[in-house]
């Protein structure tokens, strides 16, 4: 008998460590100097650079404003070498002369006033560097430099040395400024210009008390019309486009009432003016568009802030095995650098563009192309990110760093995004229809009630159409859910879509997978074997190394594996067969091994069995400890939700889990049986969250109302799930769910606020007390209230989440 014990995760230090002078992080291994305490040599180095350049004022604006350099040592020194390639460098440089060129870098670490100050002093850090400008919102730095003196690569290295790692894999060229925002400003400018001038010519007509001299009247009306036309065709174009698309596609219908109101105002004014019956409503029309656009600008800014949160700071919680200096270790995707050699097991996804080091490999590019037939790749050829490894482990050298947004795009590939009924979309669609119909009916009814007075009728109808805009639905939900998704992402729970937050808040039962979910192969593992020789055990370990199943990972351990593997075949939830150095090896549950290797094994045995060649079978018992904190988490979840355990494994650990789950335990479930078990409960109006590792419960993850895949030490991107949780963060599931429930309550609150506002506004509008202009001012105000409430409350609550 042999025992192989993996080392447990080191416990975190109980006493609060000192804060780093540079970055403010707690110092686990403090470096104490006379200038202060630092958390790592990287932080100390940056502090020294700044002191040497007389830039100590960096620490004066904010307390410990620096960027932690704790992982600086793991970065590859030559990672900027690709900037020597003129084609690559050209993506960062524009306006290139020999004397003065401008380089733009995206620096995700930029975060405060001190960063701005420091990076705008960049010219002090070397000759050839000129003026530099930071855009804090876009996280970009523009540097004037002289290419004859300093190369782009050297420039990037200078910036990185200060602790601001330039993003070399920016999805959009950093120099590109979002054109839509400039367009919006221009539209607002034109609308404001027209509004001011139209008001100028309208005031005499109001102030005069009686009708104006016909000559003036005609002149003013003509001028007003001239000013109003650009507002109609340019500034308000988006509303008409939106409404037109909505009518054609029958999807989003919230621009329709606004467009209707605008057409009514403008058309009526033209008819009035042409018929010489008065001055029309062009002042209201121009003002309305002006204030609506201002509301839209505010909304766009709020969304940008959220998008920024999401793109820059949350990473896919996946990791790959990287071979460095003869040893291999699990590395988080964001720490992967060009040149690293990855060993990817079957089922894992190639996270970054790489070159194949093996002779050949099979990859499934369904993620990228939707085509599921495997492709053969020859040694030395490029392997594009997004391929899923088939057959056996491959080794590949990373060419480009991981692009998280590209992974996200793969994950959201329509081939896999089997439409799940999202509560938000159903509600929005239904509500949108009712709402538009209701608003139009109400406007018509209001107009009819005032009918003999045509001017009043039109004013009431327009005011109703404008004021009824449901800002709670269009603004509160995206803002609250987007904020929630971003905050959960930074805490190790990465969701596919903001609407998942809402569904997460509505579940009332949770089903857990056991192995790999509640237990972790990277934690404390006890492996005992009997009946296998040392040589055979090595072969078994080698074959197990080809699988990402938690038990296989426990068997293969963390040591170096030797031997040639071929013909690997994995039966999910059953076992694994393959040839190691020409000897056939079968590992798996008793029934699987009995069939595959044609041996007689005790029926109903719970251990894992292995047969090597034609030798006698041996058994392996793998005991994987529960993740730290998980039992407590389940206990807390059980007080609110129904919790079940759906395991594909044997029942030998039953007693351990019975205390937590009571009778809701089911073992030996095939992937199909797991799905069937879920569907049973779903039929009984239960909304189920499935938490699994995605290996043999992919169907259940897809079938559940929300499927969360737990990931540790693998690069398995489960396409069917709605979110990925980092393994060690699973213990905070109760907090995550609590936060998701809060998002629901915040949205409900916004609804109440907005309904109160709408009812008040509609009442006033129907009574004819509200001019369209007044509604146009009130509407952005209510939108701002709702946005402020949604974003503010979600951010506040996020502070309570475990960091």
């Amino acid at each position: 008998m042999r025992a192989a014990t993996a080392s447990p995760i080191p416990p975190s230090s109980p006493s609060a460590p000192a804060a780093c002078r540079h970055c403010g992080d707690p110092c686990r291994t403090p470096i104490v100097t006379e200038d202060g305490t630092f958390c790592c040599t990287g932080c100390e180095a940056v502090f020294r650079i700044l002191a040497a350049h007389d830039l100590g004022a960096f620490y004066a604006c904010e307390i410990a404003p620096g960027v932690s350099q704790a992982d600086a040592g793991t970065r590859d020194g030559g990672r900027f070498a690709l900037l020597d390639d003129p084609a690559v460098a050209a993506r960062f440089v524009h306006g290139a002369g020999q004397r003065d060129a401008i380089a733009t870098f995206v620096l995700p670490a930029l975060h405060c006033a001190s960063c701005v100050w420091l990076l705008e002093q960049l010219y002090r850090f070397g000759s050839g560097i000129g003026r530099s400008e930071v855009d804090l919102l876009q996280r970009t730095l523009r540097v004037h430099f002289s290419p004859a003196v300093i190369s782009v690569r050297a420039l990037a290295e200078r910036i990185a040395a200060l602790g601001y790692e330039p993003l070399l894999d920016a999805e959009r060229p950093a120099a590109e400024i979002p054109q839509s925002r400039r367009d919006l400003y221009l539209k607002i400018g034109v609308a404001g210009f027209a509004f001011g001038n139209v008001m100028l010519f309208s005031i005499p007509q109001y102030a005069n008390g009686g009708p104006l001299d016909p000559e003036f009247q005609r002149l003013f009306n003509t001028l007003n019309l001239l000013f109003a036309v650009p507002v109609l065709v340019y500034s308000a174009a988006d509303y008409f486009r939106g409404a037109w698309n909505a009518i054609r596609g029958r999807t989003m219908v919230l621009d329709v009432p606004i467009a209707l109101g605008l057409v009514a105002l403008f058309g009526r004014s033209v008819v009035d003016i042409a018929g010489g019956r008065g001055e029309g409503f062009l002042d209201s029309f121009a003002g309305l568009v002006f204030f609506l656009l201002i509301g839209r600008l505010f909304q766009q800014k709020a969304f940008e802030a959220i998008a920024f949160d999401r793109t820059m700071r949350s990473f896919f919680p996946l990791s790959v095995r990287v071979e460095r200096n003869g040893t291999s270790e699990m590395t988080a995707l964001e720490a992967l650098r060009p040149g690293d050699v990855m060993a990817l097991r079957p089922h894992e996804v190639v996270p970054a563009d790489a070159t194949l080091l093996d002779d050949r490999a099979d990859l499934d590019y369904a993620f990228v192309t939707g085509e599921s037939a495997p492709q053969e790749v020859r040694g030395g050829a490029a392997v594009a990110a997004g391929g899923r490894v088939i057959g056996r482990t491959l080794r590949a050298a990373v060419i480009r760093p991981v692009s998280h947004s590209r992974l996200a795009a793969l994950w959201n590939h329509p081939v896999f995004a089997r439409p799940k009924a999202r509560w938000l979309t159903t509600v929005t669609a239904r509500f949108g229809w009712w709402f538009t119909a209701g608003a139009v009916l109400l406007a018509v009814a209001g107009a009819l009630a005032w009918w003999p007075d045509v001017a009043m009728a039109l004013q009431v109808a327009t005011a109703v159409l404008i004021i009824a805009c449901p800002c709670a639905l269009t603004l509160a939900a995206p803002i609250a859910l987007g904020t929630a998704m971003g905050r959960l992402g930074t805490r190790g729970c990465y969701l596919k879509h903001p609407a998942v937050v809402l569904d997460l808040g509505r579940i009332n039962a949770i089903a857990f997978d056991k192995t790999g979910t509640l237990t972790s192969a990277s934690g404390d593992v006890q492996v005992r074997t009997a009946g296998l020789t040392a040589e055979d055990w090595c072969k078994v370990q080698r074959l197990a190394g080809e699988s990402v199943h938690p038990i296989s990972r426990a068997i293969s351990g963390r040591g170096e594996l030797v031997g040639q593997v071929s013909d690997v075949r994995e039966a999910p939830g059953c076992g694994l067969t393959g040839c190691v150095d020409g000897t056939r090896v079968v590992i798996g549950r008793a029934s699987f091994v009995a069939t595959e290797a044609a041996r007689l094994l005790p029926a109903g045995d719970d251990r894992t069995w292995a047969v090597v060649g034609d030798r006698a079978p041996g058994w392996i018992s793998v005991e994987i400890e529960a993740r730290p904190g998980i039992t407590d988490a389940i206990r807390r979840l059980a007080s609110r939700y129904r919790v079940w355990l759906l395991s594909g494994d044997a029942a030998h650990e039953r007693s351990r889990w019975e205390r937590l789950f009571g009778r809701q335990l089911r073992f030996r479930l095939s992937p199909e049986a797991k799905l069937a078990a879920l569907s049973e409960h779903q039929a009984a109006a239960t909304r189920v969250l499935m938490v699994g590792d995605g290996l043999n419960d992919a169907a259940a993850l897809a079938g559940a109302d929300v499927g969360l895949a737990v990931s540790d030490d693998t690069a398995c991107l489960v396409p069917a799930c709605d979110g990925v949780v980092r393994g060690e963060r699973l213990q905070y599931l109760p907090e995550f769910l609590g936060y998701a429930r809060l998002a629901r309550r915040v949205i409900a609150l916004c609804f109440v606020v907005s309904i109160v506002y709408n009812v008040l506004g509609l009442g006033l509008a129907l009574a004819g007390r509200l001019t369209p202009l007044a509604t146009a001012i009130l509407m952005p105000l209510s939108s701002m209230t709702v946005i402020g409430l949604a974003a503010g409350l979600m951010r506040r609550a996020a502070r309570e989440l475990p960091a």
Partner: protein, 55 residues
């Protein structure tokens, strides 16, 4: 009447001038970043070079 027309034309020209200035400001990127410049004025600046030193 003619005075008013003159005033209107003059007023319109002034307003159009401001609109033109606004369009220019937007097109040259002055509205692209409204977060950093307010921070920038808080720093005591020593020297701000326009171009990099010539080789």
């Amino acid at each position: 009447m003619s005075v008013i027309v003159l005033l209107i034309v003059a007023g319109g020209l002034v307003a159009a001038g401001f609109l033109g200035a606004f369009v220019w400001a937007v097109k040259t990127g002055q509205y692209d970043d409204t977060v950093t410049p307010p921070l920038r004025i808080l720093f005591d600046d020593t020297r701000r070079p326009g171009r990099p030193p010539q080789p």
